[in-house]
């Protein structure tokens, strides 16, 4: 019996594909594809030579064991790992760290009960985690994270390269700052957006300003609105607050980190489906971690 792709995905989605009697009953031999083989294909398709040093590496698990399915996600939180296991995907490709530091340093965490809890979950479910950060940004022809973000916003045709690799600029149809923020909140599915500037300000030029104060200084002069995420609160927000106090007509949107980059891992799942067909691939959003009281 040949399984249609649709049926295959439905079965995989229920997590039943890992149950070998069912696989046998359906006449489908389990895939022998390993995480290491998937990564080799990513390296072949990413469009730039693989470079070191890089954070993009295996963080846990056996790269040579057969995988049952692939999850792409922004952040491999415990919740995402649980949902991934429930979906039958034991290979997780994450943009951000698993163990709460840029380099996933675990030497200081050995005694931490939470680290051990997460580690046990990963080991019990035979999961493999691989980080895909530096090279997904470096992907050519275009940074995969921004490709996904532009699609989520519907801003592909407004985009042009900015003053630095992380400062894509956009000329959008003129709107008020508040309406722009509302539109963005909806399209990016965030609920912890924080704003600096006059809600009624008319805006048309918008740019990403990365995480750092230098990037914000580079781009603010050319645009009405800067978009930042994951920066320290004494940097961009205070800089734009002073810009406004000095008479400049500017505004800032501070997104949760997910709001700035999560759509890029949805894009990653779409991209990987063009060269990995043996196992199901699913984007599982970690989502905006925050809510705000009313």
């Amino acid at each position: 019996m040949k399984l249609s792709r649709r049926k295959f995905c439905q079965v995989a989605g229920t997590g039943l594909l890992v149950a070998s009697p069912l696989v046998r009953a359906l006449g489908q031999s389990p895939s022998t594809l390993t995480a290491r083989e998937v990564v080799a294909r990513i390296k072949k398709n990413v469009g730039v030579p693989w470079f070191t040093p890089t954070a993009d590496d295996f963080k846990i698990g056996d790269p040579d064991a057969p995988i049952t399915g692939i999850t792409t996600t922004f952040m491999s939180t415990l919740d995402v790992l649980q949902r991934s296991a429930a979906a039958g995907n034991n290979f997780v490709i994450t943009h951000e760290p698993t163990f709460w530091s840029a380099a996933d340093v675990v030497s200081d965490l050995r005694e931490d009960p939470l680290y051990n809890y997460k580690l046990n979950f990963l080991e019990k479910n035979k999961m493999v985690v691989w980080r895909f950060h530096d090279h997904w940004h470096a992907h050519r022809p275009a940074d995969g994270i921004f490709t996904g973000w532009n699609k989520a916003m519907g801003w592909e045709s407004y985009a042009s390269p900015g003053a630095n690799p992380f400062s894509h600029e956009y000329v959008i149809p003129e709107t008020s700052f508040e309406d722009l923020a509302r539109d963005m909140q909806k399209k990016l599915n965030t609920h912890s957006m924080r704003l600096v500037g006059d809600p009624k300000l008319r805006v048309t030029k918008v740019a990403h300003a990365g995480h750092y104060i230098q990037q914000c200084m580079q781009v603010l002069a050319n645009v009405d609105v800067v978009l930042v995420f994951e920066c320290r609160e004494w940097e961009a927000a205070e800089y734009v607050r002073d810009a406004i106090a000095s008479g400049q007509k500017k505004a800032l949107i501070q997104l949760p980190h997910e709001g700035g980059e999560e759509a890029g891992m949805d894009e990653c799942a779409r991209w990987m489906k063009t060269f990995v067909t043996e196992v199901p691939i699913k984007f599982i959003p970690s989502g905006d971690p925050f809510w705000m009281p009313t």
Binding site: K118, R182, E233, P293
Partner: protein
């Protein structure tokens, strides 16, 4: 009459810890702008010297600003990577920046003195930042103080509140501090009683240490790095080890401490008026 140099010396004499001023790798405590010989006309304390705070200082005829954050939007190179997130802007970049130029002009035209006072204040036996925040929240009576004397020694951060939901707790705090940029991790309906209160940026090591105390339901703090303590806390909640993380914002969590600095200064500087001018929450949010 008191000069800015005399003011610094008086602060050093009263701070109660050996003065640290030579940090080779960035902004240190002391005069960032202005002359040591200048006469002090009045003192403003604040979390960060925004242009708005500087204008308020000038209009109330005060020329000294004592702050935690440097005026040029960076902590410099002094802090560990997780704290600073980025190197300070270079001098070349700052020199041609229009916002910084306006601010610098305002500082020099009005002969303002900017004095950074952070590391030495934090090195004191009493955590003035914590005491200020606890007072602002009205939580003094809930403090699980371990010493009868003062109780705000560093790490003495636990409070037992009347049990309430995480959502009610968050709404109450937001109203009390009058802030907007306020973020929460955890289930809104979770019941919260024992809370750890800290200020500024929460690191993973801090969270880990705080949660070693049994029965802590939530941590209330300023800010968290979104690939470090924030996802750590998402996992803490998913693993059922605690229920909530409330991020007040860095300014909101640190600002009441500037009020404490003002009160403390009044104990040994009597020649000039001293006023705490909060920078205020920089953010607004969609309703």
């Amino acid at each position: 009459m008191i000069t800015s140099q005399q003011l610094i010396e008086r602060i050093q004499k009263n701070v109660g810890v050996p003065w640290q001023s030579q940090q080779s790798d960035g902004f240190s405590d002391g005069i960032l702008f202005g002359s040591p010989e200048a006469t002090v006309t009045g003192i403003v304390t604040t979390w960060t010297p925004t242009l708005d705070v500087l204008r308020k200082a000038v209009s109330s005829a005060k020329n000294v600003i004592i702050c935690r954050q440097a005026p040029s939007y960076s902590r410099g190179e002094r802090a560990p990577v997780a704290w600073r997130n980025a190197p300070a802007p270079s001098k070349e970049m700052l020199d041609k920046d229009p916002v910084w130029e306006t601010k610098q002009d305002f500082i020099s035209k009005n002969n303002l003195l900017i004095i950074r006072f952070c590391d030495n204040w934090d090195a004191r036996r009493t955590d003035g930042q914590l005491r200020g925040l606890a007072k602002a929240l009205g939580w003094k009576k809930f403090h699980l103080a371990q010493s009868a004397k003062d109780g705000y020694e560093p790490r003495n951060v636990y409070f037992r509140l009347p049990a309430t939901s995480l959502n009610n707790l968050a709404e109450g705090i937001k109203k009390k501090l009058n802030i907007q940029g306020f973020r929460v991790i955890g289930k809104p309906e979770s019941s919260i009683a024992k809370v750890a209160l800290t200020h500024g940026l929460l690191l993973v090591a801090d969270a880990e240490q705080i949660l070693r105390e049994p029965g802590v339901d939530a941590i209330v703090t300023g800010d968290a790095v979104e690939w470090e303590a924030a996802p750590y806390f998402q996992d803490v909640v998913a693993a059922g080890k605690a229920k909530g993380l409330i991020l007040l914002g860095d300014e909101a969590s640190e600002e009441p401490g500037s009020g404490e600095v003002a009160d403390w200064l009044k104990g040994f500087v009597t020649e000039v008026p001293i006023e705490w001018i909060p920078a205020g929450d920089p953010f607004w949010v969609l309703s």
